[in-house]
């Protein structure tokens, strides 16, 4: 049975700042949704709300029919929703294998047996193309490798819904092409659902079948990638802002 993540009319205020105002979206296992919007539009906050890192001021989030919006983050992961960090946060003193093994032992897999978790970790690292770095201490990784490790860790938790916060950011065109190909391949194999939060338009438009656009915490458009890029509000709010930045 495919499980569904349902975010409905979610608000988050930080004092007077309205970071998220009434955003709704639906994501089921196996599907990939893109979430785009200018800087500070509330994308990361929305991710944190779903992951249980922050609690919504108003609105509900359900997964497989259960309300999860008051749950602590670790419980959300146990139920099968895991997020990456925009700035990768590897456990620096551990090897890549150990980093992913932690995810396997504590995530929704709950592989309590350490050797087993370490083996799972090896498999997952191979899946994301880090097989050569398995026994490298993660503080020795480059930024790109850290992003892959971040991806490997959420996979290692066994989550069925992944919240991927800017995993394609800061890559060279070539690296981006490889990263997109890798993502599509892994998604096909594992079959997880993903909310891909992204600045890089090309990446989002390539990997997602459905795109949600938010600006100043509000949803301004959604649809297929093609519909979204042709939407006037989006061009004005998102691309317009980008274009203005580019010309100054």
């Amino acid at each position: 049975m495919t499980r569904v993540l349902e975010v409905s009319q979610v608000h988050k205020y930080f004092g007077g700042v309205r970071a998220v105002e009434g955003v709704s979206l639906t994501l089921e296992e196996g599907r990939v949704i893109g979430l785009i919007g200018p800087n500070g539009s509330g994308k990361s906050t929305l991710c944190n709300l779903i992951a249980g890192v922050e609690k919504p001021t108003k609105g509900t989030i359900t997964f497989a029919g259960q309300r999860i919006d008051r749950w602590p983050a670790h419980r959300v992961v146990e139920q099968g929703i895991a997020k990456t960090h925009q700035i990768p946060k590897p456990f620096l003193a551990m090897t890549c294998r150990e980093n992913v093994a932690v995810a396997a032992m504590f995530g929704s897999n709950k592989q309590k047996d350490l050797p087993e978790a370490l083996e799972t970790a090896g498999r997952v690292l191979a899946l994301v193309g880090l097989e050569a770095k398995v026994d490298v201490i993660s503080s020795n990784l480059t930024v790109q490798e850290r992003k892959r490790l971040e991806f490997a860790r959420v996979l290692g938790t066994g989550a069925r819904i992944l919240l991927l916060d800017e995993i394609f950011a800061g890559l060279s065109p070539e690296e981006l092409r490889d990263a997109i190909a890798l993502f599509v391949k892994v998604q096909g194999e594992v079959g997880f659902g993903a909310l891909v939060v992204e600045h890089v338009m090309r990446a989002v438009l390539t990997v997602s079948e459905h795109v949600v656009v938010i600006e100043e915490g509000m949803k301004i458009a959604e649809g297929t990638p093609r519909e979204v890029v042709e939407n006037d509000a989006v061009i004005e709010a998102y691309l317009g802002v980008e274009a203005t930045h580019a010309s100054t």
Binding site: H74, K89, M105, G122
Partner: protein
């Protein structure tokens, strides 16, 4: 695929075991003045391992461990003096009081991170003294004097047993799943939470165990000095000594707290007879030097510069 055998005891644990067994076997033949020195050393080591459980393993720096020790001391004094328990049962009571206090204090203070946690524990330590001073049953500010016979051997074996259990538990915790969970918290608590680790519960677990052993050590301390006296028991110097021990020995390691306890306790006994107070200047200087030049302490530094020791020293 070759995977390290995580549950095998390893040379460090064997070494510690041999050290403890030799101590235990030879204890009846050790002259009394040396035996009391060893009792003091084992109390110090128990306190060092106790602080190691929370500060060494999770990275939460506690200045308040003297509280568990002091209340443990009062628990023993009250249990033996008022309830007429045998001293060993009094130590058990002390451990329970340490555990209960740690659960209560930890449930609140562990919500703070970093320096805020450290400050909160310091505040608790200062406040605790003034609370005890007001409690009539705990000597009404004068403390409790005990009238127990001097039994160095049973005292020795009690603290020996506590330390042995504590070292065993430290080993067990640092291996396997829980150890990885705790190390993840130390490394990055937010990342740990988002990978499914219940950081709040694991921290409280480590803190509660830590309180239990500090309480037990405080009980034996009170037994040793025949009573619990507020300005001695709540002296913040105990907290600072514990911190100095694990910083010098090597935070979060299996052998470090014992080395640190030896390094701090033995000189403190020598200075006691030479220049009172001089000890703190030396400890302070040593800690500053260690923090500046070899922050990993004795064990961490040896492991860093002598690769052959990595598989041996823990």
């Amino acid at each position: 695929m070759k995977l390290p055998a995580f549950r095998s005891p390893g040379p460090t644990l064997w070494g510690l075991g041999v050290f403890l067994i030799i101590l235990a076997v030879s204890a009846p033949w050790i002259p009394v003045f040396l035996l009391t020195l060893f009792i003091g050393l084992l109390i110090s080591a128990t306190l060092a391992y106790s602080l190691n459980l929370i500060t060494g393993l999770t990275g939460y720096v506690s200045f308040g461990h003297v509280v568990f020790m002091a209340f443990g001391g009062y628990a023993l004094a009250f249990g033996v003096g008022t309830l007429k328990l045998p001293p060993v049962a009094g130590v058990g009571l002390a451990a329970l009081v340490g555990l209960a206090l740690a659960l209560g204090i930890g449930a609140v203070t562990l919500r703070f991170r970093g320096v805020f946690f450290a400050i909160a524990t310091l505040v608790v330590a200062v406040a605790a003294l003034y609370i005890v001073l007001e409690i009539t049953e705990l000597g009404d500010g004068q403390g409790i004097t005990l009238n127990v016979g001097f039994e160095p051997l049973s005292m020795f074996y009690t603290i020996w047993g506590i330390l042995a259990i504590e070292i065993g538990l430290t080993f067990w915790i640092t291996r396997g799943r829980i150890g990885y969970g705790i190390r993840s918290i130390k490394s990055d608590e937010d990342a740990a939470n988002t990978l499914g680790i219940n950081a709040a519960r694991l921290k409280l677990f480590a803190y509660a165990l830590s309180g239990l052993f500090a309480g037990a050590a405080g009980g034996v301390y009170a037994w040793n000095v025949s009573g619990a006296f507020p300005y001695d028991a709540f002296n913040l110097v105990f907290s600072l000594r514990m911190l100095a021990m694990i910083v010098i020995g090597g935070m979060g390691t299996l052998l470090g707290p014992l080395l640190g306890a030896i390094a701090v306790y033995i000189p403190s006994q020598i200075f006691l007879t030479v220049l009172i107070g001089f000890e703190y200047i030396i400890i302070g200087l040593v800690v500053v030097v260690i923090a500046l030049f070899v922050p990993e302490g004795i064990v961490g530094t040896l492991r860093k510069y002598i690769p052959e020791l990595r598989g041996i020293l823990e």
